[in-house]
């Protein structure tokens, strides 16, 4: 408990003890209030008020879902690999923080994708009548298992009873080894959801699941770096600077590898012999939302962070800023994977064959969709702030 009562009869201290993490609570409340109308509209009117339609059936929400999955799985993969496989022990201090962050991010992702369903209550059908030939089935089942493992991990990581210490560590180690291939499978399945769709040439490549893996590692590494900068307990120590320096270099190299791989794939697709793919790539590069790729992702998400991470890797504040930029702009990547491909007509003359607002290729997310995202982010932010305050999930001393 943050407040302790003294035995003295003196007046108890009623002054609220503000903590840094209360920013998340405040931000959460603001976002919940702002986004409430979006949530209310979704709950009362279904998907009709959105700009989703029969030709572009997935949009902002699916893009955000994938973004959050990248953050969650990527951060856990980087952490587990660093601590349990590579043996970089100093990072283990972030264990409860990273597990808890991953848990909250995963919950947000699942709520968003649940609300994207036409019949959210029927999500149980995926457990009752599963078709394991579908990537979505695998995704749901893996997510469920991952959520349970993560909950157990958090429970064990915050259990401070000394008597249970060794046993907890052993179970945590086993769970880490289990969750490593599971996390890999989850991110590959997330990419394969798009990769197996033969109808969409830009998605239908064997490289897409691998791109998902590389991107999630880069995004996850950025998130861990940000968490380290925000929550490391003794920021004057040499260990802190060493950890930040290593995380900065790891994030920078993952960003570089991801950018290089994306460039190679993009140039291949732009070859004129595959017009269907080239059209979708050109829509990303020069379409109405060109800025989301060039400015948001490439400049703010890759270029600027790379400059900072290589030039200022010894300065934690700069590294934190770079990681923050990288993490928040990664959403442009998933949105650019999901939307332009669907906005490229499969049959050229279909668009004008029947004119209806729910049958068009000009998808732009509307206010309802953005407000719902704000509401879910607000929910996550509030839960995160409360958890950081009341649960022992801050980095251990």
């Amino acid at each position: 408990m943050a407040q302790t009562m003294t035995a003295e009869p003196a007046a108890p201290q009623r002054r609220f003890n503000w903590q840094f993490t209360d920013i998340f609570v405040a931000l959460g409340i603001v976002l919940l209030i702002v986004g409430a109308w979006g949530m209310w509209t979704r709950l009362t009117q279904g998907l009709a008020p959105t700009e989703l339609n029969s030709y572009v059936p997935w949009g902002l929400w699916v893009g955000f879902y994938d973004y959050l999955v990248w953050l969650e799985v990527g951060s856990l993969l980087v952490f587990t690999t660093s601590v349990y496989l590579v043996g970089y022990k100093p990072l283990a201090r972030l264990k409860p923080t990273i597990y808890f962050t991953g848990f909250v991010v995963l919950l947000m992702a699942l709520i968003i994708v649940l609300l994207d369903l036409g019949h959210p209550a029927r999500f149980l059908n995926v457990y009752l009548y599963p078709d394991f030939g579908s990537m979505i089935t695998w995704m749901v089942w893996l997510h469920t298992a991952y959520l349970i493992i993560l909950a157990v991990k958090i429970a064990l990581a915050i259990n401070k009873k000394p008597a249970n210490g060794a046993a907890n560590d052993r179970i945590l180690r086993i769970l880490a080894y289990v969750s490593l291939p599971m996390g890999l499978a989850l991110i590959i399945v997330s990419g394969s959801i798009f990769g197996v769709v033969t109808a969409r040439p830009l998605w239908n490549t064997s490289s897409l699941p691998l791109m998902f893996l590389i991107s999630s590692l880069a995004a996850g590494s950025g998130l861990i770096t940000l968490l380290a900068v925000l929550f490391w307990p003794d920021k004057q120590s040499g260990e802190y600077r060493q950890v930040i320096g290593r995380l900065a270099r790891l994030t920078a190299w993952l960003l570089l590898v991801g950018a290089f791989a994306a460039a190679v794939i993009g140039f291949t697709f732009l070859y004129q012999g595959s017009p269907a793919r080239a059209d979708a790539v050109m829509l990303i590069l020069t379409g109405p939302f060109w800025w989301s790729f060039w400015v948001v992702h490439l400049l703010l998400g890759v270029g600027v962070p790379l400059l900072i991470l290589f030039a200022q890797s010894e300065k934690p504040v700069w590294v934190g800023a770079a990681a923050f930029l990288s993490v928040i702009t990664f959403v442009a990547v998933t949105l650019n994977i999901v939307i332009p491909v669907l906005a490229t007509p499969e049959l050229e003359n279909l668009a004008l064959s029947y004119v209806d607002p729910k049958m068009n290729y000009n998808y732009v997310p509307n206010l309802v969709e953005w407000l719902l995202i704000m509401f879910i982010l607000g929910l996550g932010s509030l839960a995160y702030g409360l958890g950081m305050r009341w649960l022992p999930v801050k980095p251990t001393q």
Binding site: L47, A48, L52, R122, V197, L347, N349
Partner: protein
């Protein structure tokens, strides 16, 4: 059978059994009636040569497709259909043939489909695409109706996480409205954009008024009355053309087939070698959409 149909049958049953020759004769007669008075008026001064020249200068008649011989196509398709229904379901394969040379782009099939299945705004199982090619003045236009192509290897089926969409033994891919979770994965997987999401819209709502009585009628799809006016399924579900399966199973042709004024759409059992569709599919001028994907559609286009 209407009087016009009887006349057509009679014409078809004559010495010149093809429609082309029938039309050629008809056009020649009309032409003769038009030019004869003029020619007769100058018969004294003009020799026969200009008349022959006029005949030679005529633009040749368009290369119209041959009509189907024998019984009226609708009668024949009905007989094919009822014969197929006598067989076990797995032994029949429903197929559709669309003659693009006959399609006028009237959208009658589309409207008939919307009416039959009580489709809401934003859901249409059979849009008619207009394809324009060439540069002015050498411009060509053709109309391509696009129902669900009822693929033999449907990419929409394996992606469904809950087995809500599947191919029946007779080759028709359907959606179980009671199981579909509305994830729309199948929509992204269909290479023909032939799946639609029911967002729960009503025509009356968009007009700002009240819902019209025709919108409150239940949809008879799959032989059940789905009352979407109550807010239940198929709202929130993916919907698609099912070849009017509820009509087929009571011995009727799909609404789009019956409503086609140009008799451009044919339907039947492609597993029956004597059926009309089998006969049409056997022609060399048959094509299917995006054959390179290997989806093996059961909707064939005559070009």
């Amino acid at each position: 059978m209407t009087q016009d149909d009887k006349l057509l049958d009679k014409a078809l049953a004559g010495d010149d059994s093809s429609r082309r020759s029938f039309l050629a004769k008809f056009a020649s007669g009309v032409f003769a009636g038009l030019v004869a008075p003029a020619l007769m008026g100058e018969a004294q001064a003009v020799s026969a040569a200009p008349a022959e020249q006029a005949q030679q200068d005529l633009v040749p008649l368009p290369d119209l497709p041959d009509a189907v011989e024998g019984e009226h196509p609708v009668v024949r398709m009905m007989q094919d259909l009822r014969r197929a229904l006598q067989k076990p379901m797995a032994e029949r394969k429903w197929a559709m043939v669309i003659d693009l040379r006959k399609c006028t782009g009237c959208n009658g099939c589309n409207i008939a489909c919307v009416t039959e299945n009580k489709l809401p705004p934003g859901v249409t199982y059979r849009p008619v695409m207009t394809e324009t090619s060439g540069t002015f003045p050498n411009v060509k236009r053709r109309f391509v109706p696009r129902p669900c192509l009822q693929c033999n290897n449907p990419p929409c089926v394996p992606v469904c996480p809950v087995h809500a969409t599947y191919m029946r033994p007779d080759g028709i891919t359907i959606v179980d409205y009671d199981r579909c979770i509305g994830c729309r994965y199948c929509m992204t997987a269909c290479p023909y954009s032939a799946r639609y999401f029911d967002f729960g819209n009503f025509y009356g709502d968009s007009e700002g008024g009240e819902r019209q009585p025709y919108e409150l009628l239940p949809t008879p799809e799959y032989g059940r009355d789905y009352d979407r006016a109550s807010g239940a399924s198929p709202i929130g579900n993916v919907r698609k053309c099912h070849f009017c399966i509820h009509r087929i199973e009571r011995g009727d042709l799909p609404a789009c087939v019956l409503s086609c004024m140009g008799r451009a759409t044919y339907f039947g059992d492609m597993n029956d070698p004597t059926s009309l569709v089998s006969e049409l599919i056997a022609q060399p001028n048959v094509m299917r959409l995006k054959e390179e994907l290997g989806t093996d559609p059961k909707v064939f286009y005559l070009v």
